[in-house]
Symmetry: C2
Subunit: 375 residues, 2 copies
Amino acid sequence: MSHSNPDRREFTKTLSAAIAAGMASGGFFSTAPSAKANATTNGKVGVALVGLGNLSTNQLAPALQKTKVMELRGIVTGTPAKADKWQQQYGIAKEHTYNYDNYDEIANDDAIDVIYVVLPNGMHPEYTIRAAKAGKHVLCEKPMANSSEECRQMIAACKDANRKLAIGYRCQFDPFHRRCIELAREQTFGKLKFIEAGFGFKIGDPNQWRLKSALAGGGALMDVGIYALQACRYLTGEEPLEITAQETKTDPVKFAEVDETITWSMKFPSGVSTSCMTTYGFNGINQFTGLCDNGWFGLDPAFSYAPPQPKSSNPSQAKLDLDPVDQFAAEMDAFARCVLHDEPSSVPGEEGLRDLVAIEAIYESIRTGKAVSLA
Amino acid sequence: MSHSNPDRREFTKTLSAAIAAGMASGGFFSTAPSAKANATTNGKVGVALVGLGNLSTNQLAPALQKTKVMELRGIVTGTPAKADKWQQQYGIAKEHTYNYDNYDEIANDDAIDVIYVVLPNGMHPEYTIRAAKAGKHVLCEKPMANSSEECRQMIAACKDANRKLAIGYRCQFDPFHRRCIELAREQTFGKLKFIEAGFGFKIGDPNQWRLKSALAGGGALMDVGIYALQACRYLTGEEPLEITAQETKTDPVKFAEVDETITWSMKFPSGVSTSCMTTYGFNGINQFTGLCDNGWFGLDPAFSYAPPQPKSSNPSQAKLDLDPVDQFAAEMDAFARCVLHDEPSSVPGEEGLRDLVAIEAIYESIRTGKAVSLA
């Protein structure tokens, strides 16, 4: 694509966005900052991935070959060899290729509407805030940050810049998870009473960033336990009132800086109680079950990159025999549509913040040996 | 069977017991009190069931038609109609039929070697202690009592009377559960790291004794949560070091006196951690899973009267394709053999006490909102 005529490009992009949005939101010719997309002439939203690790390489880039509204246009990487490879593999122009020294210059790159922050957790705040200051909308991987305080700073920065902020909660865009939310909310099996949810795996390389507190913020809980927490929150549609947690560490060398195995319980306002777990110590738990007055439903596995597998006391009633989708493509297209149509994200920064508030309560309960009230 | 010649009967019973025991334990002609059976001439151990409720009617009496070493000879019931029915159905002689007024006269009934206490939990201590004082060995249903203090009194009473005391932990005599214990202890899937265990059901009749604190001692935890607790204890072969628990009550009328839903976590000395739950509020959880370094195994359902169903990450390695047995028959025959051979029970009063110690810690954690140390 050509970017030789910035003025014209700016105009047509704005036009395109307005058309896509049905010109519903007004302010079309306004000079005030708008949350609308810098969508380019092809009607798509351009994204730059920041951090070309495993997730970007094996999940996001392939997913971006399937997205309908979001388009991979830029990369930010500190590794020149990766830059070369991605430029060739995905036809990314040199002018949309950045490193960590010139990252802020992305402000001048109108092809990039959205920055997807795929860095280690501890770097999310800085790169989100700088993205917002560069005038870009931000999609940030989970967990949003290492602390609720950082989440609040990120939300404020994006608000100040009038940019959208969403968190990479791919499961919330998956049809199996959506259907389970319906089953819970519509009380297909009667009132939801209990959720059992857990996600863990046996972590390998002892030198990876996920085991470093500064970069990861925490261990299994921050990385994968958050999926179980999310499941409890989106199935109930509520925030926990009380959290009780316990941690076990069997390898204090490998897990010197982060948590290994955590179990936690939560009470929700509607009376739902939950039993959750997460671990870096072993494989085998990757599921949630919603137990209701007259039956149960769930996914097992639930949180893998592979399609979820449904389970139910009554499969024909659960209607969970659905066609799988690429969750990352669905997540990214959803955010692209929010940007194009100037609509709020269903997984905004506030959603990431709510998880961090609960996660901090889990750590507090472990630290103090006491139930933590969030009421 | 005839009981016209007490002296001869006593002698042949003792002889029979000694033969069965391989005359290994000495004291054959000793006049000191012996823990040996009053086994009758047919070489079997006679049992009287105290309390002819659902469990006795639908599980124990049918199981006693299959037992090889224990024989149903007596009943204790406050309902004459039940007495008539059982006498006819099981050929129980009038002389071995008791009510709650003449219960202690069972001391003179040499056909009865064992009393199986199948009353509401709160009545276990009294009827166990009176059984021991009547010179009978005691098999007592779980939970052993409403408190650890009562357990200690029951143990002391049986010890003072030189009578054996065992708790009705039928799962410990089930081949599926035994095999799972082997898988854990022999580290077939590597070191055991985590146990997920839960058992609950939606309780019906709001007027039943299980919802009365004085009779039941507690709710779901005392009644069925104890199975999940047991599973954690027999899979690890250890006692919990720390317990953290949370309770949720959605129906404070029905569950005014007892617990409805409880989640709890335990840490064991070997580093195993557990996530457990129990409920009277809904159906659907009746399982345990043992997660190890290199795989997992479990039973789901695990604790029903119907045969357990195995599950594993590697079924051919787990070797859980076993033939089901009648768990109650196995449990009763095992105790009968202990009595006959004067051997210790694998599920003695002390085993029941250990569960009550853990259960009290669970209730304490709920009451105080704090982790409870048992170290």
